[in-house]
């Protein structure tokens, strides 16, 4: 396994042959490069904050530095640090400021900025000077001697006058470098740990983010659901009514035409085709959103899905009315399971059981087919598993090769108080 941090790298015997010494040095050096301008910016803003405009800018500087530092952290930490901030509830600078001011992460970043500007970058500089500057200065003795011609004062302390002495010093310098690169990496590791501790999201913040993602996914599913309903209604109110009216008109026309003639045959054909279109449209509308689900609930809708299945399905359904999203997700998941039995399983019979016990809805769809069903292989169940997951539910498939297959949908939910199932 590859080292993730300088600390881990230090424990390996090949530490000096890896890129870690140089990554550590680069991390410290870039710390100096960001620290110096940061100090200037903070000083200017501190001056401004006496008249209040500086305060928001100070926050901004902290947040901006936080982002930069998390990116810089990648030099010495292979695992990226996530952004601890939330997405503001509304667009615009005002909402942004309001969100940021309320976040602990913002203040941690500001604290880090002050620390970085005043203590950390000088420390980085000192470490670089001692850890790399000094050994390199010692190692440069032959060059110094060559430039001067007579003598060289190595590291401004002791004097060398001959080349053997100078090369001896160079060798010592390189050895010193090899030794000092170790504490350098240790320091870089410590710096990285401090940065991560202050700038990476805390557990609670991560939980918030996950909650937010779940909520937004739930909103997406709800929007999708509402859209299906709208399409269903539009088709019902529009195309379906017009087609019914059309078949009625054609039916009346047929009464007025003398039977046996060519026109009667044409009309009969048109009448027939309109009838077929109507049947297909009815099935299509049912597939988009089965109205029986809204009117009579999940129990009736499941029984109907079992009626329609190509493979005979034995049903055992005993559930109350549940909340709409639960009924809908459960219906489509069970419906897809039944459809898959018809398409892939080669089963002769299937069984559907639905129960609501405690606060858990459980639907089992069994078949005696050949098994080997896999949600990962795009059986349409993957998307439905996602939809069930939005409601904190699970969809599990047990399908060993040779069968039998069990698809189980479980969704935690409480029964609606009113109207038991029809």
């Amino acid at each position: 396994m590859e080292a993730r941090t300088p600390w881990q790298a230090l424990t390996r015997s090949d530490y000096l042959r890896t890129g870690w010494p140089w990554r550590s040095a680069a991390y410290l050096a870039s710390g100096v490069l960001t620290g110096v301008p940061l100090l200037l910016v903070l000083l200017v803003l501190l001056g401004f904050s006496a008249v209040l405009i500086g305060l928001p800018l100070l926050l901004l500087a902290g947040v901006a530095l936080g982002g930069l530092e998390r990116r810089r952290l990648r030099l010495v930490d292979r695992e990226p640090a996530a952004d601890p901030h939330r997405v503001p509830d509304a667009p615009g600078l005002g909402a942004w400021l309001k969100t940021r001011v309320q976040e602990q992460a913002t203040w941690r970043e500001l604290g880090y900025a002050v620390l970085h500007a005043t203590v950390l970058w000088p420390l980085d500089l000192l470490a670089l000077a001692a850890g790399i500057g000094l050994p390199l200065a010692v190692a440069a003795a032959p060059v110094q001697l060559a430039v001067d011609g007579h003598e060289a004062r190595v590291a401004k302390t002791f004097l060398v006058t001959t080349y053997p002495q100078a090369f001896g010093a160079a060798l010592a310098g390189l050895l010193l470098l090899a030794v000092l690169l170790h504490p350098l990496a240790a320091l870089a590791g410590a710096r990285a740990a401090l940065t991560r501790a202050l700038l990476a999201p805390r557990d609670a913040e991560l939980r918030d983010r996950i909650g937010e993602v779940t909520r937004s996914r739930a909103r997406l599913v709800a929007a999708f659901e509402a859209e299906r309903r709208r399409i269903e209604r539009d088709l019902h109110d529009g195309a379906q009514q017009r087609l019914v009216a059309l078949t009625m008109t054609l039916g009346l026309a047929r009464l007025d035409v003398p039977p046996g003639g060519p026109l009667a045959a044409q009309l009969a054909k048109a009448h027939d085709q309109a009838g077929h279109a109507l049947t297909e449209l009815r099935e299509l509308i049912h597939g988009i959103h089965p109205q029986v689900l809204t009117d009579y609930g999940l129990a009736a809708a499941l029984a109907d899905a079992a009626d329609r299945s190509a493979v005979p399905v034995e049903t055992d359904i005993d559930i109350p009315r549940l909340e709409r999203p639960v009924e809908s997700a459960a219906y489509f998941a069970a419906g897809e399971a039944l459809a898959n039995i018809g398409k892939h399983s080669g089963a002769r019979t299937a069984r559907l059981t639905a129960r609501h016990t405690g606060d858990l809805l459980r639907i089992d769809v069994h078949d005696d087919g050949c098994g080997g069903a896999d949600a990962a292989r795009g059986t349409g169940l993957t998307g439905l598993a996602d939809r069930v997951a939005v409601l904190d539910g699970t969809l599990t498939i047990t399908s060993p090769p040779g069968g039998p297959t069990l698809v189980r949908v479980e969704i935690p939910c409480s029964a609606l108080a009113a109207a038991p199932c029809a």
Binding site: R233, A245, T247, M248, L252, L255, A301, R308, P312
Partner: protein, 221 residues
């Protein structure tokens, strides 16, 4: 009922689509019936029935304000409030929950559940209106077909021929019509129906009522 026995009916119609409402008024008028009131929602339907005291009500399932099953609810409520009022429900749904609930209301006579598509089969449709008005029970052939596909108790005991006969009974056909369709004698049909009633364990009663009970058993199966 025979077509020769047709009498002019006074009809209250409930349908929210203007296009279909106008069409149905024209269609029924052509066959000598009179639509005395045409309502666009469930409340209008109840009021119109009270005002006009019609021979039969023809209503859509889905109507304003919520566009769910208001029409069916209104039909069920009407049958509870005015026992014996014939009601024919036009629906877009093959699902048996709707038909079962409707037929379960009242005593199961003078009631019909048809897919809207059926209004295109003009003569069949008008015949269904007549049959329901005369106290018959009519279930849409498509709904019947869907139910026949299932093999479940208590219908499991029936032979395929008996199931076929029961389906035709549910569609509201007379013994003579069933005999004609299956190309058998009326006596044979009578025998099948006797067997069906016995196998479904239906109590001895007047024939029409037992037929209705058989249809209900069929729908609930």
């Amino acid at each position: 009922m025979q077509r020769s026995g047709r009498r002019p009916l006074r009809i209250v119609l409930a349908e929210d689509s203007v296009l279909l409402r106008e069409g149905l008024v024209g269609l029924l008028g052509r066959f000598g019936h009179q639509v005395v009131a045409a309502a666009g929602d469930a409340d209008g339907l109840a009021t119109a029935v009270d005002t006009h005291d019609p021979d039969i009500v023809v209503t859509d399932v889905r109507m304003p304000p919520a566009f769910q099953d208001e029409g069916l609810r209104a039909a069920v409520a009407l049958r509870a409030r005015r026992p014996g009022l014939p009601v024919l429900v036009l629906s877009q749904y093959v699902q048996r929950s709707y038909a079962t609930e409707l037929l379960d209301s009242g005593d199961g006579t003078g009631v019909g559940y048809l897919l809207k598509d059926r209004v295109g089969q003009i003569e069949e449709f008008v015949e269904a209106v007549d049959r329901v008005a005369a106290g018959g029970t009519v279930v849409d052939p498509e709904v019947v077909r869907q139910m026949l596909r299932r093999r479940r108790d208590p219908l499991a005991a029936l032979t395929p021929r008996e199931r076929e006969v029961l389906g035709l009974v549910a569609e509201g056909h007379s013994n003579r019509e069933i005999a004609r369709r299956l190309v058998v004698t009326e006596a044979a049909v009578g025998k099948h129906i006797g067997n069906i009633l016995a196998k479904l364990d239906l109590p001895p009663a007047e024939d029409t009522h037992r037929r209705v009970l058989a249809v209900l058993a069929f729908l609930r199966a």
